[in-house]
Symmetry: C2
Subunit: 336 residues, 2 copies
């Protein structure tokens, strides 16, 4: 309700003094400072955010772009992550705005709007592509940002990512150790870094074991994509006995395909993301997930450090992937 001028007037002080008193500067006597603070408390004074932002040349805002394709938004914990991130940003006086991408615009347009209108101090990018134009743009503008997922950008940039390569390699080797020899991969769209990374992990393991890498099918990172890709692999003359799937959603689609095919329930399968519903599929879906707790806080911390100017190299977190042992990966190797 009240602004600085009114508050100052009612106290018989100058705007300057009131402002500095509230900010705790030392050049205001302790007595006045206390008097000002009490008065401010009493009238419930809060500085006008827009005015402060204008003067300070800070937006006090961070934006996160949300891909609008339904189902592309990421696992359910995504909202928890955002919530955690926003909470930690708020402690530093920053708010998190969500910026969904309308169908008619590109993610780049959104970035441009936010950056060039000086609406944000930093950005959070999700679902990075190997070659991500948003990253290039933000780098060229010199605006701080953190990505959820790596890219193949030449310049380093801050990110948090799971080590999909290692995770999928390990999962594949696990199948190999269990006696599987025909291990298929259901891959996500390869322009996404995570999908490519996971595919590489599977491929590396296969090559290490001296196995052919032709049992690979790509699909949209959705239930339907996994379903179609699985059908494709099941049509092969020599079927896979195990499937490593890029995401849980695809794995669930693959499970549906397996149910429709003779002996499909004898095929092992593993996904990635640890979707809650995976616990209820039949068989319960073994999966993988990124380690680390309170990811949101990590993102917030990286963002704040990026804003503070820390070099990108020090703001990169690669998290190990852990295996979540349910049941779907335990089918015998020799069946099918």
């Amino acid at each position: 309700m009240a602004n600085l001028k009114q508050l100052a007037q009612s106290l018989g002080l100058s705007i300057t003094t009131v402002s500095r008193a509230l900010d705790g500067y030392a050049d205001v006597s302790a007595a006045t400072r206390e008097r000002v603070r009490e008065a401010a408390d009493k009238v419930g004074y809060r500085p006008n955010a827009s005015a402060r932002r204008l003067r300070r040349q800070r937006a006090e805002l961070v934006a996160v772009t949300l891909p609008s394709d339904p189902g592309h938004i990421g696992p359910p914990h995504f909202l928890d992550m955002l919530s955690g991130c926003a909470e930690h940003l708020a402690a530093a006086g920053l708010n998190l705005v969500i910026a969904p991408v309308p169908r008619c615009e590109s993610e780049l347009d959104i970035c441009r709007r936010f950056v060039d209108g000086r609406r944000v101090d930093a950005m959070l990018l999700v679902r990075t592509k190997r070659k991500d134009e948003r990253v290039e743009f933000l780098q060229s503008r010199g605006i701080p940002f953190v990505t959820n997922g790596r890219t193949e950008s030449l310049l380093p940039h801050p990110y948090i990512d799971g080590d999909g390569f290692a995770g999928f390699r390990a999962a594949t080797l696990r199948f190999h150790a269990a006696g599987h020899r025909r291990i298929g991969h259901i891959a996500g769209p390869q322009e996404y870094y995570f999908a490519h990374d996971r595919c590489r992990g599977w491929r590396a393991a296969m090559e290490e074991c001296g196995l052919a890498t032709d049992l690979c099918a790509e699909g949209a990172p959705l239930e339907q994509g996994g379903y179609l890709a699985a059908l494709e692999l099941l049509r092969q003359p020599s079927r896979p006995t195990a499937l490593v799937c890029a995401t849980d959603e695809m794995a669930i689609g693959a499970l549906r395909a397996l149910r429709e095919v003779d002996g499909g329930n004898q095929i092992s399968i593993v996904g990635h993301d640890d979707l809650p519903m995976g616990a209820f599929t039949s068989p319960p879906l073994s999966t993988m997930r990124m380690t680390g707790e309170n990811l949101g806080a990590s993102f917030a911390s990286l963002l704040l450090r990026a804003i503070a100017g820390e070099p990108a190299e020090e703001l990169q977190e690669l998290h190990a992937i852990e295996f979540v042992d349910r049941d779907s990966h335990r089918r015998p190797a020799k069946a099918a």
Copy 2:
């Protein structure tokens, strides 16, 4: 990069004219308007958001508060809803900021911070309680807001809600028509409007049918809460043969309880929310969901109309609840 002053200087025009040209006022000649627009396009001029907000006395922001208790954030479609809402708000020049509530603060504190700092033009409230202090506060401040869920506030306020009363009444009657007589209710915390509303619906149906309303147990709106509440009902001397659960999460907990009890798999059950994982439980969980598509757009529209000053009475949407027929509600009435 550029601001109005520089742009004006480079064109040999005044700031005023450039500003008005870009806003399309009629008092700049079509020729100059075009010239200005081209120049602005070329240098990629975007008005500084903070400056505009200060001058216009609008924050161009809407905040949504997220309860921080994990699991309380609502069904997975919640993020889709937010995303849709943000998208439609963006079309009107408003951005959506998410405001999670840290453990040490109340939702009211958050509202206060946003409202008194003039950080937002409106607020979106979720998980309303029957007596909701946030609603009272916002009403007293006269700031526009829309709630997801009704309240028992005396003054009307804009909301979108599902007709839980009718939905739960209908579901209960459906069980009655199928021959069930001992129909239990697993209720959510009654301080929440939705939980109370659904409970009333069950109770009304029971009374209409002349049945006792003692088979009711309350729990936290989580899997564990449903599990414990179900165990409580199953301990009764005469067990329910059907369960109407306030939420799917609770229903899934109840399913776990049923599995642990002899003959539990003969008990019918229905939930509410249409969680994706409900399709994978065994048996697949019959459920209910609010009708209406693109809820986010509806919220955005109500928010905009509230900001425009439309009276609250015209900004209330009560959506019907539809039944989602899977399998879990089809157990015979005479078993158990």
